[in-house]
Symmetry: C2
DNA sequence: CGTGGATTTGAGAGAAATCAAATCATGTGG
DNA sequence: CCACATGATTTGATTTCTCTCAAATCCACG
């Protein structure tokens, strides 16, 4: 079993990587590590020297404010490289944390920089990956700024569903949901108490429910309506 | 006077571009256009074939929700390339609009793609530019999700000040501010009425004031405190 | 079976929205 | 150069959403 497969599938889905590109990626030096739940992978202010590849489990990025509040910026799933931006930004501007127990790979910046210089297709595909990351931030800004809490949570859930589905990690209308209410609050800019009430409302409306680390969507269309969800921003389409 | 100077300065500040890189950038085909206030440069759903370079004036990006609300995603100033991401994302996921009368340059994707394939330094520096764009989104997410309206506005103003200062567009503690209250509301996720009240409060606290398209910061330290502003996320530092 | 984290519910307070209307520019045409 | 129209700003009153505080319950795990 090849550890970079998820990455290649994600980057390459029908893309223009040739054998040389694939081999280049496969031969990247990668240090596999087991991470425990809540483990800090990198902190704001760090000078990173590796990029992290999420192989198994969930990883999230978060930023703290000076008054002790915290915003979760993104939730990452297998195949994602949550801190790929550190390749060209000297200092981390946020934390990187294991949301669950994880298997992660760490690839030295030097190796990645060398790879992207010698294989322009790989550079393009990695660059594009950071651009999709960025497109997701934009949609989250809309979510945080313009939708009220019910829609915010619905939207968040649907995004996770689509992304997990794309890497084969859904089981019908259910999927793993290790994100506790406190964290949902930090991702959506609402309090834990309110997250709980919103979940209740979504459950009572027959839209979705969370149980034992699993989320089930009961009414896909209804949830899409509430969350005003349109997956275009995920840019699943191919470039060429 | 060279139209790409602002761009080169911005990308290159002390960076590793050599003469060949600079010449490559300078010889990009670029179509100069005058834009009138409010003009739509590109729409959500468009397939872009050019990248826009803001040469003079302000340009902003915005996304609409299905219920007619709108989130301003970023405000761009001379030297910025607000839709550089369109180079590798097939469809625009937001609108691009002239906030003021503008001079803008349009560079065909084909020329840019060719340039980045032949000059890896240029690729790196443009990639890095999109990564900083992304870092700014992250900070805006914190702003939208975690700060209340007073801090939100203060933070926004300080970011604009630092960015304008970096390209020599401030005049002491004052700078051009063509952003009307309605737009500030759309950028910060608050209503126009409330923007007005927040501006009043900031004025009464002696922190800043807006008059006739100009913003003046009266108490830098106070505003930084209210906005919890730390410029690290702008990544002004050099890579190497 | 105890313990700490996570979830749930209630009550009251607060921030910001909406609705409504007045005032203030600013720019155009007569 | 003034009248008018349109958009921007300002202020007030009321409503709504979400927060905070507090406490109870549930649950997983050692």
């Amino acid at each position: 079993m090849d550890i970079t497969s998820a990455l290649i599938r994600k980057l390459g889905i029908g893309a223009k990587l040739d054998d040389e590109d694939i081999n280049g990626i496969r031969s990247l030096p990668i240090a596999i590590k087991q991470l425990s739940i809540g483990e800090l992978i990198a902190s704001e202010g760090d000078r990173a020297t590796n990029c992290c590849l999420c192989i198994e489990g969930f990883i999230y990025r978060a930023k703290n404010t000076s008054d002790g509040r915290r915003q979760i910026l993104s939730v990452h799933i297998p195949g994602d490289m949550p801190d790929l931006q550190s390749l060209y930004l000297r200092l981390m501007d946020h934390d990187l944390i294991a949301m669950t127990q994880c298997t992660a790979g760490f690839i030295p910046h030097a190796a990645l920089r060398h790879l992207v210089r010698s294989l322009p297709n790989v550079a393009e595909v990695l660059w594009r990956d950071t651009l999709i990351d960025s497109a997701i931030f934009r949609e989250w800004m809309v979510n945080l700024g313009q939708r009220e809490s019910l829609g915010r949570l619905a939207h968040f859930v649907l995004e996770m569903q689509r992304r997990l589905h794309a890497v084969g990690m859904t089981d019908g209308d259910s999927f793993r949901w290790p994100i506790v209410q406190h964290q949902m609050g930090e991702a959506l800019g609402i309090s834990v108490v309110h997250v709980n009430r919103v979940l209740k409302e979504l459950r009572e409306r027959g839209l979705m429910e969370v149980h034992g680390g699993k989320l089930t969507i009961l009414d896909q269309a209804g949830l899409v309506e509430v969350g005003q969800f349109d997956a275009a921003y995920l840019h699943d389409d191919q470039m060429h």
